[in-house]
């Protein structure tokens, strides 16, 4: 099919498909999804496959990778592979839900700011500036201490501190799109602002917003890992990648597998999301192909 006859969306898909790295990483992301959802379901149903991630077996603590435990055991004798797989669900959902929260807030703020402009824009952008200088660690500590160290609180807090980038991006998009012809036409026709925002501008800004979302997921995952490392993550015996690392932190010189594999998992997942997101961004943009 020749370029001139394709819609923007189809054009985007075609470009995307031609991007080999993007395709590989997207496949990996998809696999990650499947693993997470499958094992998440298994976890919720308490199915111990390939091994029970919460079964402590002191006789087998700190075993290096072997035939019976492919990735070794941790300091309570729990199988690392099982914990890694069952924890994938949590680690990834932190990423997704946190990004969703931050997206919701960021889009709202950016849209209002970019569309209405004037003093509203000024105030909101100053607030964004202020928050970007915020010592985010304090906020996280507060939430965890005040509300209790639970998964939900961590997700919410990460979402609450990361919306500023999205807001700025959305605002920029809105500033441009606000001046486009069909918006001016819609305004001339008397449509009210909210309808214009939701029906005209937002869909056209959807692509960059989506890309930001995808690129934001690895940030959230890395933040959760960092939090767990510092000890503010999810409580035992729940497994998350960050948790396995922080539990194994003390044994690092004697049990390298406790740090290597979860870290590798985090690294590879984050990389996959970044590359996929970047490919999407390139495919979605209407600039030349060397971008």
């Amino acid at each position: 099919m020749k370029n001139e006859f394709l819609s923007p969306g189809q054009r985007m898909m075609q470009r995307f498909r031609r991007d080999r790295i993007g395709m590989i990483s997207s496949v990996f992301v998809a696999m990650l999804f499947i693993v997470a959802v499958t094992f998440g379901a298994l976890s919720l149903l308490d199915v111990p496959f390939p091994a029970d991630p919460n079964l402590t077996n002191l006789a087998e603590k700190l075993q290096p990778p072997s035939a019976s435990h492919w990735l070794g055991t941790d300091n309570l004798g729990r199988d690392v592979l099982a914990r890694l797989l069952h924890g994938a669900y949590i680690s990834l959902s932190v990423g997704f839900v946190a990004v969703f929260v931050s997206l919701a807030i960021g889009v709202a703020v950016g849209a209002v700011s970019g569309y209405f402009g004037g003093w509203v824009d000024n105030v909101l952008m100053r607030v964004v500036d202020a928050i970007m200088c915020f010592p985010t660690f304090f906020l996280i500590l507060t939430a965890v201490a005040l509300l209790g160290p639970s998964l939900l609180n961590i997700i919410v807090v990460i979402g609450l501190v990361s919306w500023t980038g999205t807001a700025r991006l959305v605002r920029a998009e809105f500033l441009t799109l606000r001046e486009s012809e069909y918006v001016r036409a819609a305004r001339g026709l008397g449509q009210n602002s909210w309808a214009i925002i939701f029906r005209h501008i937002l869909p056209n800004a959807a692509a960059p917003i989506f890309v930001t979302a995808v690129l934001g997921i690895p940030d959230a995952i890395l933040t959760e890992a960092g939090l767990s490392f510092l000890g503010f993550g999810v409580q035992p015996p729940q497994a998350t990648w960050g948790n396995i690392i922080s539990d194994g932190k003390s044994y690092i010189l004697d049990a390298w597998w406790l740090i290597l594999f979860p870290g590798l998992a985090i690294f590879v997942s984050a990389l996959a999301f970044y590359l996929a997101g970047d490919a999407l961004r390139r495919a979605a943009s209407s600039k030349s192909e060397t971008q």
Partner: protein, 320 residues
């Protein structure tokens, strides 16, 4: 220009206070109060605890606590809950090390980011660019504590070289050059790890910006006129890419201060990140207020500086 600067300074001042107020409220509302007596000690009497609370105004209403602490900060008399020393002194003695670490990290980020960004942009779309892109994202995707631990353990196991703190201990140095290089080594490793994310981010910005510029009409005109590729890249395109370089610094600062908490712990490096982390855990309110204020001020001023520089560099920009 001057009116712009003044206006921005005022806004910055307001913002800094706003930040410090909000974070102070958040911290004081967190459960847990300053408890400088380390382990659970049976022998501390109620009077000692009462005296302590009085000295640090812990029983006053929150707004008054904020006011008293801020007044102390500006008069220089604000003292840390932990050891009674003036807070500014505690921060001040960590400043040189922190500055050294962060300046190093910034220099590394900028220079390598520029190199990678420019090289990628010039070879856009071809395999060097693709490889470098993947590499950049890889650097962003590395969890900092993971890679730090791996590096530290690797070097210790394979080479046995000391790498913690700011210098090697108890060894006899043959000459001054060796001692200088020792300091350099202890600084270089954590700074490099701290700069990884910065390199990646900077290279992406510069690459994107340069590519965008290289596709502009006036560049095509220059090429058509016969200018060689090198001149085009370095003289014209690069100039327009200075902006991300400069604004990037503004974005680097909060990231560095935050990221240094982990690096400083692992490398036992005496900087501000660790100070802040411990102050939070110990609820050392005076230190936290001072730190918040100072870091917020630094970041906002950094941003302001970046904006001014940017305006100076690019005459097309009109400052509001």
């Amino acid at each position: 220009m001057t009116s712009f600067i003044i206006r921005r300074l005022l806004i910055t001042l307001v913002l800094v206070f706003f930040i410090s107020i909000v974070s102070f409220f958040i911290i004081t509302l967190t459960p847990g109060s300053p408890y400088p007596w380390g382990e659970l000690d049976p022998k501390i009497s109620q009077t000692v605890k009462d005296n302590f609370r009085k000295q640090f105004h812990l029983d006053e209403p929150i707004w008054k606590q904020y006011y008293l602490n801020m007044r102390g900060l500006f008069s220089g008399d604000l003292r840390s809950v932990k050891d009674g020393r003036p807070v500014l002194e505690r921060i001040g003695e960590r400043l040189p090390a922190t500055l050294a670490l962060n300046v190093c990290a910034i220099v590394i980020s900028l220079s390598f980011g520029l190199l990678i960004g420019v090289y990628s942009a010039r070879n856009a779309g071809r395999w060097p660019d693709v490889t470098l892109s993947v590499l950049s994202f890889a650097m962003l995707a590395l969890p900092s504590f993971w890679v730090s631990y791996l590096v530290v353990i690797g070097i210790t196991d394979w080479f046995g070289t000391p790498l913690l703190g700011t210098s090697s201990y108890g060894t006899v140095f043959p000459n001054a050059a060796s001692q200088f290089l020792d300091y350099a080594w202890h600084l270089a490793l954590p700074a490099s790890l701290l700069a990884l994310g910065g390199i990646a981010a900077q290279s992406r910005y510069i690459r994107a910006s340069m590519i965008e510029t290289l596709n502009e009409d006036y560049i095509r005109t220059a090429r058509a006129k016969g200018l060689d590729e090198e001149t085009v890249s370095y003289k014209h395109a690069l100039r327009n890419s200075i902006r991300p370089l400069i604004t990037g610094i503004g974005g680097l600062l909060p990231a560095l201060i935050g990221g240094s908490i982990i690096i400083e712990s692992i490398f036992a490096y005496p900087g501000i990140g660790r100070l802040g982390y411990q102050a939070v855990l110990e609820r050392d309110y005076p230190t936290l207020i001072a730190l918040n204020f100072i870091t917020a001020a630094l970041v906002l001023l950094g941003n302001l500086l970046a904006d001014i520089l940017y305006a100076a560099v690019d005459p097309r920009v009109r400052l509001e």
